[in-house]
Assembly symmetry: C2
């Protein structure tokens, strides 16, 4: 557990040191955010704040994860890193097109979805064939497992693509996605530590995922220093896709995907509120359930200050992570 | 450890439920804050926001601590509760006078200090005579103890009065004192859990302090919902003195007072910056080290937005608490 704490501290220090180098560079390269025309009015002032800040935490997280991992098997770590880097790369391409072609929406939805599906299919198949992962998911709180058979592959593809796009949707207020996912990674790290005790035959792999999650938590804590309200940098799609990929990768390897609706509840409601809003709008030909989707914009337009919405999301995430921990502690 | 999590959740739920009852009542009773004339200009708009919100977390924390504690010895818990309640009461009197007599500064410094000294003398003597506490302090990271002999009593009095007044000084920005101390209590709770394993002969007492700290952390998390920027309620002296007393009480019983400069670093710098500012001003007949003391006002007046200062304090506190944990984990 000392190693986990050192990982957090190292990743944090790197992110804090990296920020003041990367932010001016992003500004010089004119990677400023083109604010989405459909967002709330009050967000117009955010025009010109640099985006693609995700590299401020992605690079330190990867360095710290590799530096502090090691002992024994590293195949889980490799899978999680491929998942985070793969989705992060798709986000990077999207950001790059957004900024360079001045198209506020970047890639078209289809252009984003196709590589995501291909990547998730590859990852799901890799996990399915892996001797320590296979076709079953852990059912938390019930101490049982859910065998999916061949259905594991489409289910896991749906989860991977879902988490990544939900993380992307959650990234709508200063510090929202970074802070909530920092809490997720911190609790996932603790859960992996506890699981490593419960599954001694696979402890090396589980400890490496604990280190990976700790590296993400530490790096995100450093990033929050620059991204909290009022934000000096946005993470961009490269950031939110990397976060989604890293979280999904940690769950894919540890078979804890069924924990995602609990720990990543903030991401889930972002997606669900968006889906509900769009479906209802189409069915009723123009009516809305929320003032604006995703849900955090609804709260904002209901008169709640941005910072208060963000802290509410943090609090709910923290409590749900504590609930998730209940399934793993004595 | 499950019991600790349940304590956090219960205290949180009570605080969240208690807030919407207490805040309108405080408003009706006209317990609005009279903003200290010497604070930054930008704080003038905070005039009229209700104060004495400390009861929103103090009452739920005490209820949760009593409800979830119990097994075996409860003398440590009793001492910590007396410490928190005693100092909280002094704060309450101060707030009450401030509001009812419309004196912005409440009690005079001497009127505040005398009861604090009397209370801390009683508590220090009680701990000194206690068979499981005595005259020594644990030296973290070195695995040793520091025997103070009779000097334990004045040293501990200094620590108690120091922590309580430092917590009070830290309470200058929305969510600052509440959030930082929430992190302190969460890590103290974890440290007590780890210590309970290391000292099995005293585990019942240490577990009860873990529960006490968890109750404080959960209740403060609920309070932050109302106190984070832009604050809808302030904790007042009743709140900051209660926090200081609870933290000091947890350290008094567990003999972990030497950990305070690490985990309560934010409180320490608030006090130190105030002392440095005043001393330097007196020595140089009018020169200042900081733009304004305590230090968080200096950052604010240097152009850092209030929320950014608060999140910086949270981040530093969290990292230092992780460092403190390094001394207790394998």
């Amino acid at each position: 557990m000392q190693r986990v704490i050192w990982t957090i501290l190292a990743a944090f220090v790197m992110a804090i040191a990296f920020g003041p180098v990367v932010i001016p560079w992003l500004k010089r390269m004119k990677f400023g955010q083109t604010i989405y025309d459909l967002g709330p009015e009050s967000h117009k002032k955010k025009q010109g704040i640099p985006t693609m800040g995700g590299i401020i935490f992605a690079v330190p997280a990867l360095i710290a994860a590799f530096a502090f991992s090691g002992e024994g098997r590293t195949d889980f770590l490799l899978m999680a890193v491929v998942c985070a880097l793969g989705f992060g790369l798709i986000g990077f391409v999207d950001d790059f097109i957004k900024v360079k072609l001045k198209r506020s929406l970047g890639l078209t939805p289809k252009q984003k979805l196709v590589p995501q599906i291909i990547l998730s299919a590859g990852l799901a198949f890799w996990a399915y064939k892996h001797s320590l992962i296979g076709d079953s998911l852990i059912v938390p709180f019930f101490g049982s497992e859910w065998n999916l058979g061949w259905a594991y592959i489409p289910v896991m593809m749906f989860i991977l693509v879902g988490v990544v796009n939900s993380a992307n949707l959650l990234d709508g207020l200063d510090g929202l996605c970074g802070g909530c996912s920092m809490i997720d990674f911190a609790s996932m790290s603790l859960i992996c530590l506890l699981m490593a005790r419960a599954y001694p035959e696979n402890s090396a792999n589980l400890l490496n995922i604990a280190i990976f999650c700790a590296a993400m938590a530490g790096a995100l804590l450093g990033f929050l220093r620059f991204n909290f309200y009022p934000a000096g940098v946005f993470m961009g799609d490269v950031g939110s896709f990397f976060i989604g990929g890293a979280l999904a990768g940690a769950c894919l390897t540890t078979r804890l995907s069924l924990l995602l609706p609990v720990i990543a509840f903030a991401m889930l409601v972002s997606s669900l509120s968006d889906i509900i809003q769009i479906s209802y709008f189409k069915i009723t030909h123009g009516k809305r359930v929320f003032r604006m989707a995703p849900l955090h914009h609804h709260f904002e337009l209901s008169g709640m200050p941005e910072t208060r919405v963000v802290i509410m999301y943090y609090i709910v995430t923290l409590l749900l992570c504590l609930v998730a921990l209940l399934g793993f502690v004595a």
